[in-house]
């Protein structure tokens, strides 16, 4: 029965709302009688609070509530990831630990009054020494960043060092003909989404509803219940349209603050954070990290040993947990068939804002170190880097020990590295254009270079559960209910397509409700880690199969035949080998009492499978470097990525392009600068923190590789994050190829190019 929905480019099912401005983002919501919330934040990176005087703010007409640490429950935050933050400073823990640490919150009649009141809150600080440098924070005598929080030496105990190993690294180096050692570092990267962060909290008797831009609504629901000491059933969290959604929402303390203010004032409170929160103080940046990499190789390019040490800057709190450095390690281990590997990570504390989740979670950092080092090794060996990569990358039929467990890659859709390298080379004409001293291209002062990098990533990397419910209504409409959030990655469309395909329904008959804790949890942990297509998609497919089974049972009666003679297509039940049919509507209407047909699907993503969601790909970059101005022009990016099976080709292309563009920003544009004397960011808007505009976008070629993962819905894998993991590395390697300068930090700015060439770094 042919009913092709999966594999065709389908417009976003919520597209009309987005293009007409009728999509309601959190910032668009308002309520009669609503108050405006504001947060008072620390201006010091490390200080003891001596006093907080809210009396002037409280006496300002129009101010309805001012809360400090003594007014909020002193329970650890965030419960989801770690437990070392608290909702507001003050009370028993009277320290602020980064610029932007929350100290007080206000609810007032208008924005203007709330802003004026925020300035009237008088906080007496005793400034303490601070350290913004992850490299020195663990040295003897460095300031105690955590100021009594319990991380002696500013290193995360219990987790650190934390790493992975296989084989015997020393023996591996003993076999090597060439040993390469390098040091690399990457800066923080704010997600810098455009929508101001906001939430709306309202109480109805004992029940709290919070509207926010959240990828993790079920976790937030539990978090708010714990914090407020009320049953989870009394908390509803709604996240309809995210406006961004690159991982940045999981540590926001302004949300419980809004709930407390709303309770205290008995009025809805809409909390809106200032625009610079996207850059300064918000715990949503990619971790800065530094690496030492040691590679040993045979003269033919076979890598015999890899030894890496990584230091990730957690900022002032563990907050986002140890998992970012851990994922960074995995994003190397999952890539190479090297028999002897060791990866040691340290999570260290500084007085920077806590780092959190940002697309590519941990892997973006380690990718830069390893992909740069392998490129540098290839140069040392006098080899084409694509040959070194091809030789050492995981092959489709490899069985490798990963995280102490053998992984048979034939069981997870193989490895697409070799195919990605071949396709990338073909698309860049690599064989005829690449040479060790640059690529054929523009003559003179402008040098052309080709570079590439591989990526690997584990999608849906934690045990998780997804539930999807389906109702086929008497009208024939198929309602899909699932709690996943709509980040903009095409989640509602993908799930609707999977349901339509499995059920044999027309896509236009499928209607999806999502982003609400009143709906079945899917994925329970949240919409992150490129998991929705795989985890929620599997649940959707199971639910559709269940509904289809019941539909056929009912249709057999209507059509006077047996179930095994029936199929579905185009929202109709068809009898095999006959022109007899009944619409879904006719079948459902035949049921007594106006019932709908229900289907339920639960997919449990176990620990066993959680380590086995593997994403593979490669990015190839062509750059032109102007040796006079230092300007790097990215001319072309070729992205080759294994989606297992592409559900919606245009949406998949959009994810590849968007991720690569963010990676391009990290590589050469996005320069986050903090004043070392004040710890204040001086790049706290979109003018000074330069994210890519349409003028920065090169020619792009997106190649979707399809090696079905037998466990995925229709063979699909997760892949929304992938291309951001390696694009910056590919650009760095292309710059090295163009001018012979092997940069070890990002972003590669014109100034860095000119200085390196002046210092004789070029060829």
């Amino acid at each position: 029965m042919s009913n092709p929905v999966v594999g065709t480019s389908v417009p976003d099912v919520r597209g009309k709302e987005r293009v007409t401005g009728t999509a309601q983002y959190t910032i668009d919501l308002s309520r009669p009688n609503m108050l405006v919330g504001r947060v008072v934040r620390s201006t010091y990176p490390n200080a003891k609070i001596l006093s907080i005087d809210t009396s002037k703010a409280e006496s300002l007409p129009g101010v309805k509530a001012v809360i400090t640490g003594k007014d909020v429950p002193e329970i650890p935050f965030p419960p989801f990831l770690s437990y070392d933050m608290r909702v507001l400073a003050g009370a028993s823990d009277s320290y602020v630990r980064f610029v932007g640490d929350e100290v007080a919150a206000i609810a007032a009649e208008t924005e203007e009054i709330a802003d004026a009141a925020a300035k009237l809150v008088e906080v007496g600080y005793q400034p303490l020494p601070f350290n913004l440098d992850a490299k020195t924070t663990t040295q003897p005598g460095a300031p105690d960043v955590e100021s009594s929080l319990g991380y002696p030496g500013n290193v995360q105990l219990g987790y650190s060092p934390l790493g992975m190993a296989r084989g015997d690294v020393d023996a591996g180096f003993a076999q090597a003909d060439v040993v390469f050692e390098g040091e690399y570092q990457v800066p923080p990267q704010p997600a810098a989404s455009l929508r101001p962060f906001s939430c709306l909290a309202e109480w109805d008797g004992p029940n709290l509803t919070v509207y926010n831009d959240s990828q993790v609504i079920f976790v937030r629901q539990g978090e708010l219940a714990d914090l407020l000491g009320i049953p989870t059933a009394n908390v509803r969290v709604v996240s309809q349209y995210m406006g961004g959604g690159f991982g940045e929402d999981n540590l926001y303390r302004f949300i419980p603050l809004a709930a407390v203010l709303a309770k205290k004032t008995s009025r809805p409170v809409k909390m809106v954070m200032p625009q610079d929160y996207a850059f300064e103080g918000s715990p949503n940046k990619r971790h800065a990290a530094s690496f030492t990499v040691k590679l040993g190789a045979k003269s033919d390019g076979t890598i015999t040993a890899m030894d890496l040490q990584a230091t990730y800057d957690k900022g002032a709190y563990l907050a986002g947990g140890a998992s970012v450095p851990y994922v960074g390690a995995r994003a190397v281990f999952n890539g190479y068939r090297v028999p002897n590997m060791r990866y040691t990570t340290y999570a260290v504390f500084t007085d920077n804002p806590p780092a959190g989740a940002f697309r590519g979670y941990g892997g973006v950092q380690s990718n830069f170190a390893v992909q740069s080092a392998i490129d540098d090794l290839a140069e040392k060996l006098g080899m084409d880097p694509t040959d070194v990569q091809y030789l050492n990358c995981i092959r489709p039929d490899d069985v490798l020990e990963i995280e102490g467990r053998p992984v048979d890659f034939t069981q997870v859709g193989g490895s697409a590295f070799m195919e990605a390298i071949e396709k990338g080379k073909a698309a860049t004409d690599w064989k005829s254009r690449w040479s060790a001293s640059g690529a054929a291209g523009a003559p003179g002062q402008v040098r052309t270079g080709l570079g590439m990098a591989l990526l690997t990533y584990g999608f849906g990397h934690k045990p998780d559960t997804a539930n999807v419910s389906i109702y086929i209504r008497p009208s024939g409409q198929v309602d899909v209910m699932t709690g996943t959030a709509d980040l903009g990655g095409g989640q509602p469309t993908t799930i609707s397509m999977i349901v339509a395909e499995e059920l044999g329904a027309r896509l236009e008959d499928v209607s999806i409700s999502l982003g609400d804790t009143n709906l079945p949890p899917a994925p329970f942990l949240g919409t992150f880690g490129s998991r929705t297509t795989f985890i929620a998609g599997n649940a959707a497919k199971l639910a559709a199969a269940d509904a289809r089974q019941k539909l056929l049972a009912a249709a057999a009666g209507v059509l006077g035949t047996t179930q095994d003679q029936l199929g579905t297509s185009g929202s109709q039940v068809l009898v095999n080998g006959s022109d007899q049919s009944a619409t879904f509507s006719e079948v459902v209407r035949s049921l007594p009492g106006g019932a709908s047909i229900e289907g339920a699907g639960e997919y449990v993503h176990t620990a066993q499978t959680s380590r086995s969601g593997f994403q593979f790909g490669a990015c190839f970059a062509e750059v032109e470097v102007n040796q006079w101005t230092g300007k790097i022009g990215v001319k072309k990016l070729v992205m080759a990525q294994d989606y297992g099976r592409v559900i919606n080709p245009r949406a998949a292309e959009g994810q590849m392009q968007g991720a690569a563009i963010q990676g391009l920003g990290y590589g050469i544009l996005e320069d986050y600068v903090v004043d070392a004397t004040t710890a204040q960011s001086i790049t706290r808007d979109w003018l000074y923190y330069r994210v890519p505009t349409i003028m920065d976008v090169p020619e792009m070629s997106s190649i979707a590789i399809e090696n079905p993962d037998p466990r995925g819905p229709f063979g699909a894998k997760g892949g929304g994050e992938s291309m951001i993991i390696c694009t910056h590395s590919a650009i760095r390697n292309a710059v090295a190829n163009a001018i012979g300068v092997r940069f070890t930090s990002l972003p590669i700015t014109p100034q860095m190019v000119i200085e390196a060439l002046k210092a004789g770094g070029g060829r």
Binding site: K16, V19, F246, Q275, R650, L687, P692
Partner: protein, 204 residues
């Protein structure tokens, strides 16, 4: 020399910085610059309300607004037209773009009193869910957005571009949209959508 709208904006504020004698730090794009600016002018007095008449999406609208109230706030908060999205509120990102007499402007950078007697078009005036413009249709068909937050601003900028240049090249599309930021990076599909809408309109 080609100057993108974003580049031009930088040049303009750079100009302010150098012509404001003695206030070299006066770059309005920064918080420090703002503070310096605010220290030079008396605190904005909550000025008397001003009567404003504008043609908004084809209908005459009368409002009263204080002199320091931006067009963005009037549209969203007083007129409940939330299709115009606040982004940086600093003239950098373009998500609040509307048309003023057919020209794309950042509504966060216009005072409401400035539009008295003028025509303003917001996304609500471009089309509706039941009646999409050709450009809106093309944005959906080409997948020219991800989260969609910047989309109304892009559609307004593109609408103005196609009005002044119905048959743009890809480079002209990019230049015309260089004042809008899309953090999701939907730019290639946005370019496709504008080119496809132009082609569709021209072939009608």
């Amino acid at each position: 020399m080609r100057v993108s709208r974003r580049g031009l904006f930088k040049i303009i504020i750079g100009g302010v910085a150098t012509t404001a004698a003695g206030v070299t730090a006066l770059v309005l794009g920064t918080k420090q610059g703002r503070a310096a600016f605010e220290s030079l002018v008396p605190a904005a007095t909550p000025a008397a309300s001003n009567d404003i008449v504008m043609s908004l999406n084809g209908s005459e609208v009368r409002i009263t607004a204080k002199a320091n109230r931006t067009l963005l706030k009037v549209l969203r908060e007083d007129l409940s037209l939330t299709g115009t999205k606040p982004g940086c509120s600093n003239g950098e990102c373009g998500s609040c773009t509307v048309l003023l007499d057919g020209m794309p402007i950042y509504s966060c950078q216009r005072l409401a009193v400035e539009v008295d007697g003028h025509q303003v078009t917001t996304i609500e005036g471009v089309g509706s869910v039941g009646r999409l413009s050709a450009l809106q249709r093309a944005f959906i068909d080409e997948g020219a957005f991800q989260c969609g937050y910047c989309t109304p601003g892009f559609i307004l900028s593109a609408t103005a571009l196609l009005q002044s240049n119905p048959n743009p090249s890809a480079d002209e599309v990019r230049e015309g949209l260089s004042g809008n930021i899309c953090r999701c990076g939907s730019y290639p599909h946005i370019t496709n959508a504008v080119l496809s809408a132009a082609k569709g309109v021209n072939s009608e």
